[in-house]
Amino acid sequence: MIRAFTSSILILFALTVTPKLLKANEEHAVADTISPKKFNTGDLIFDHIRDSYEWHIATIGHTHLSIPLPVMVYSQHSGFHFFMSEKLHEGNGTYDGFKVASEGKYERKLVEVMPDGTFLRPWDFSITKNVTSLFVSIALILTIFLSVARRYRENFARAPKGIQSWIEPIVVFICDDIAKPSIGKEKYQRYLPFLLSVFFFIFINNLMGLVPFFPGGANLTGNISITLVLALFTFVITSFSGSRSYWVHMVNDPGIPLWLKLPIPLMPIVEIMGVFLKPFVLTIRLFANITAGHIVALGFYSLIFIFAEKSIFAGYGISVLSIAFTVFMGLLELLVAFIQAYVFTLLSALYIGLALEQHTSHE
């Protein structure tokens, strides 16, 4: 079934995208003959890390090969618009009143040019590069887990075979080493689906961000919106599972001396700050780890081109060292991909376990 799925994806990709893929961008060729493009490290790194309205695959000579992605915006001024992002490159950059702002508050985002010249940012529902990568990774996760689940349903008592043997140790690891010790033997099963989903979502998206060619390479978990939503899931689940003693102890913990609670409620303030700080730190930790890893790996890689600008032989010479460093950073990134998924899941389990604790005895 995986073979059927992947072959159908490949056929769909070939049929729908190849004609557009071959339609290269000729305007860039004209601009580049006027002044040869100098290598800009910052641009290279930030283009790989940021979201964009098209998926840039390669630059061959002066032509850019990219997959155009649909742009769907709803403007308060002129209603619903749907078009492919290649239209934003035709003409002088404006299509139907919309353009990608090149500076100001809405830099690199789609804005509508009003008749008096000001910019209006519409409701942007576009399928950008990150959203496409999200769909691809969702399809991958569903394929893996639905086939594993079907195998468990059909041959329950047999030895694991195929992709089941990859997934089973990880699932058992999360169940036995993360969920049970943190949440407790009685209630961990209720939270196990969430913990497994979060772990595999973060792990597989981290890994896909490391693959340098399509459909990988979109920095999804390095997007702070995605990590913020994951941390908000943890926050909501923790808050809704909070037992009575959890909330009461936050404001009035019987174990701490009175001068910390009155006249200035120091401990309650610290505890309530902690409630909001924990998801925030989860967000920042995942986002910064993944993005910083990508920046460092790309920085090592662009050393070659920086040195080549000075002299072509310096470029060749530094390439050995640079490739060695990049490979090392890539391996470190693989480790970080797993560790960050593990730490996010572990901390979520710990917070849920803390919220579920029932204090049975007070002094």
């Binding site: 930790r285 593990y342 730490v343």
Partner: protein
């Protein structure tokens, strides 16, 4: 007097970038010291009790990841100073 004021206004952006660089360096020092201490204690604990290697290793990695989170928070602030 006016020269000093003009110099200060002109140097504002430059001093901000220098501050960002120093902040990032300090964050790296802090993370290095913290994780170095964790690694040292973990290795000593393994030497004392070699059969607890698995437990000690996972606790060490968890503690290192938490400290790295704080260091990355400082890095993000320095990044924002640089580019905003």
């Amino acid at each position: 007097m006016t020269l000093a004021v003009i110099l200060q206004v002109a140097a504002n952006a430059a001093i901000a970038k220098m501050g960002a660089g120093i902040g990032a360096g300090l964050a790296a020092i802090g993370a290095g010291i913290g994780i170095g201490r964790i690694g040292g204690s973990a290795v000593e604990a393994i030497a004392r009790q070699p059969e607890a290697v698995g437990d000690i290793r996972s606790n060490m990695i968890v503690a290192a990841a938490l400290i790295e989170g704080v260091a990355f928070f400082a890095i993000i602030i320095c990044f924002l100073i640089f580019f905003l």
